[in-house]
């Protein structure tokens, strides 16, 4: 037997054994939904207004990107210069992760891709095994992309940088995975 009850504000709850399904009463819909002539209920005017507001803001994007690149460089230098047993990867990861998410909006999609590659590297490999040279390679690439104002995938330098980085990362990740498998195999035999 399925039990159901109105729990207030038009909300209805149904019980299926140990699972309760709660159908919201639509109070938020009642508060903010308005009839629209736009196809598919997409508010083209609001979206255009938001795009225009972003365009006004975009004059600041180059400076903001510069700040984010400087944060990445500082985080990398702190990581590199710390004694190995005191290295904290979090600030470096967050700096890379932020560029991964924002550089596209700022007009630097290639820097976003490189920073994405760096954040995956930092996320997938234990801090003790992180290859400093490869991290440095990423940071230098982001820096070069920004300082040379490279925004276009058609730029042959950018294409080459991305290609080289991908190859280098795959190599490091595969080597690490192989080492882990061997370690596991060794432990099983001991």
């Amino acid at each position: 037997m399925i039990e159901q009850e109105i729990v207030g504000d038009g909300t209805v709850a149904q019980d299926f054994g140990d699972t309760r399904v709660i159908h919201m009463g639509g109070s938020l819909r009642a508060k903010a939904a308005v009839r629209s002539q736009d196809a598919g209920g997409v508010d083209e005017m609001s979206i255009a207004a938001a795009d225009a507001a972003m365009k006004d803001l975009s004059g600041d994007f180059q400076n903001w990107m510069g700040d984010e690149v400087n944060r990445l460089i500082a985080a990398y230098e702190n990581f590199r210069d710390a004694p190995p047993n005191e290295r904290d990867v979090s600030p470096l990861f967050r700096a890379a992760h932020d560029i991964r998410g924002q550089a596209g909006v700022f007009g630097y999609p290639i820097a976003a891709e490189i920073a994405g590659s760096l954040s995956k590297l930092l996320d997938n490999i234990e801090p003790d095994y992180l290859p400093i040279q490869l991290i440095s390679h990423h940071v230098d690439s982001v820096k070069a992309i920004y300082r040379n104002n490279i925004r276009d995938y058609a730029n042959p330098v950018a294409t080459q940088i991305i290609h080289n980085l991908r190859k280098a990362i795959d190599k490091v990740v595969q080597a690490r995975q192989k080492a882990m498998m061997e370690e596991l195999r060794f432990r099983r035999t001991v």
């Binding site: 159901q4 209805v12 159908h23 919201m24 938020l28 992760h97 998410g101």
Partner: protein, 172 residues
Amino acid sequence: MFRVDCSRLRFLVIDDNGYMRRIIRTLLHGFGTREVFEAEDGAAGLESFATHLPDVVITDWSMPVFDGIELTKMIRQPDTSPNPFVPIIMITGYAERNRVFEARDAGVSEMLVKPISAKGLYARIAKVVLNPRPFIRTEHYFGPDRRHLVKADQYKTRGAASSFLSSATGNA
């Protein structure tokens, strides 16, 4: 057909990156929203959530100390949260499948992968306002139904609640 009048909604934006908060605020104001509150980490976000009772929460995933996943789990506490049903839109650089599942299992309503756009953000807001998913409560989970494509009919087949639900929610 309906659209969302964002001027009637109150938003809370939680992101440790000031530039990202500025971008989201700019988009929301562009949509016509007047009330946008900000917090720079999960702990401050939770406090602001209790104080301002926003209609929609927009949060980043990766934040120091108290991240967006932990924040979502706190908000989705049905017995202690001021509004465990609030829509939570997570804006993140993570696009990996396992990350999407992790966010879903924490109780996130919608995800928006960066880089953010006006169209993408508006679509998520429209989804949580106009077509919210039912909530599920079990011993181990409280949050929006994790099956995104559930239709009202599927609930009907599990009980004779169809007309009752239609009239009560006006939304079947």
